[in-house]
């Protein structure tokens, strides 16, 4: 695939994001209209592997583990490429942890985890692709609109 944006010198390329999820990735990274960082977003580009995909390139930033964990939830299969001095120096595929703590809230309004108890939400990963999570407390499954439940 031809590069459609100027190469970055240092930063992170999040590649192989399922088409449609780029904006949620930006949300996870806390990137909104107030950002001063240089960001490129590619949406619905053709991918050899998977038809259409999205891509996000963030200059001068490497991601925290927690950010990568969050991305894994909405973009299983995404790859993180760390660019230093114009070169991909590290590449890995995001991987969901088996237990997600304090990242997503349970969608069940009657769940004890959505009250003022001194606990963090906990979701068990039953399946990674497609994503199927289950609340440790109320056992309700979550399969859709996962980005809506990011804390």
């Amino acid at each position: 695939m031809k590069l459609r944006v100027t190469p970055i010198g240092n930063g992170t390329v999040i590649d192989h994001i399922p088409a449609g999820q780029a904006l949620n990735v930006l949300k996870i990274l806390g990137i909104d209209r107030t950002t001063e960082a240089t960001i490129s977003v590619l949406m619905n580009v053709t991918s050899r592997r998977s038809g259409k995909k999205d891509m996000v390139k963030v200059e001068d930033r490497e991601l925290e583990e927690e950010e990568v964990n969050k991305i894994s939830m909405i973009a299983p299969g995404a790859t993180i490429n760390i660019i230093r001095d114009c070169q991909v120096v590290e590449k890995y595929t995001v991987d969901m942890p088996d237990l997600i703590v304090g990242v997503l809230r349970c969608p069940n309004p009657s769940c004890i985890s959505n009250t003022n108890e001194p606990i963090k939400s906990q979701l068990l990963v039953k399946s990674k692709n497609p994503v199927v999570l289950r609340c440790v407390y109320c056992e309700q499954p979550i399969t859709e609109k996962i980005a809506d439940y990011l804390i």
Partner: protein, 307 residues
């Protein structure tokens, strides 16, 4: 074998664990009927009811007393006062230090699991909102095993299969025994699809119908649950449905001799009082069986441990 520290959800029970609870319940049944037993003498069970319940609370209390132990309890009024001021986690830490085990009923789903994370002693879930009520399921299984059979069982689950938590966890447990399950409900109260596919995934035979007459002659157990008026916006619609799922003696023509009719109680209109006089009515005995089953759980969680 039974190595659990808490009893929170039927999902956590293997068939072997269920069998070991039912075996012990069987051997404790004479003591549930009044034989002298001091197995838990000196032990205290705290009953924390943040929501009203009569049968379950009294049944736990009876179970503890029949084992020679004592109980202390928090009623719904005190419970809700505490719930306003203090987190459940703190309440559990405090009362957990007074007692050897806690029984909790709370309106929020997952509350028993939370309690288990903060409690220094075993926690038994006596109903967490629309969540779980595992001791009800265990007493249902005990009833079926004693009065019918868990092997090659043909059972019909009748009534509100959408909201009724007891039928969900019962169906789940019956799947472990390979039961042949027929779901009988009004179209608007069918069992939720994820639960059905969960059951099918366990290799259980699950059929669905709206017509009770079609199945009543072919089953060993009829498990009837209440259809709540509130589920129907139209009172006429409710009347119609309630009538078509009501069990009266005339519906019982041609059923198997050994058919047992179960109900988690309280019963309202689902089963005519005349049915009580037939040999098929098992619901009061079923309710009594809650005592030996809860005795077994208490003995396993409180009595037989060294820590």
């Amino acid at each position: 074998m039974f190595k659990k520290r808490h009893v929170l959800s039927m999902r956590e029970f293997s068939r072997d664990e269920i069998d070991s609870v039912l075996d012990l319940a069987e051997s404790l049944e004479p003591y549930a009927r009044g034989g002298k037993c001091e197995a838990l003498s000196g032990k205290i069970l705290a009953l924390l009811f943040f929501e009203p319940s009569t049968r379950t609370r009294l049944s736990f209390e009876t179970a503890m007393m029949r084992l020679g132990g004592k109980t202390l309890s928090l009623g719904p009024a005190e419970g809700s006062a505490i719930a306003k001021g203090e987190s459940l986690a703190d309440t559990i830490r405090v009362i957990g230090a007074y007692a050897d085990a806690l029984v909790i009923r709370h309106p929020k789903e997952g509350s028993a699991r939370l309690a288990s994370q903060f409690s220094p002693v075993p926690v038994l879930n006596a109903g967490d909102g629309a969540g779980h009520h595992p001791t009800q399921t265990l007493l249902d299984l005990y009833t079926i095993r004693k009065e019918s059979s868990l092997e090659d069982l043909k059972i019909a689950l009748v009534g509100d299969l959408k909201y009724g938590r007891t039928v969900h966890s019962l169906a789940y447990a019956l799947a472990l025994y390979g039961a042949d399950i027929t779901l009988v409900s009004p179209p608007t109260l069918e069992m939720p699809a994820p639960i059905k596919s969960d059951l099918a995934g366990k290799g259980t035979m699950v059929r669905e119908t709206h017509d009770l007459d079609e199945v009543i002659r072919n089953v060993d157990v009829l498990y009837v649950t209440r259809i709540q008026r509130e589920r129907f916006p139209d009172p006429y619609e409710y009347q119609k449905v309630a009538k078509s799922y009501r069990i009266a003696p005339e519906n019982l023509d041609g059923v198997q001799d050994g058919l047992i009719i179960m109900h988690p109680l309280p019963r309202v209109d689902e089963i005519a009082p005349e049915v009580d006089e037939t040999g098929h009515a098992l619901y009061f005995k079923q309710s009594f069986y809650g005592v030996p089953v809860r005795m077994a759980l208490l003995k396993m969680l409180v009595g037989d441990r060294l820590d």
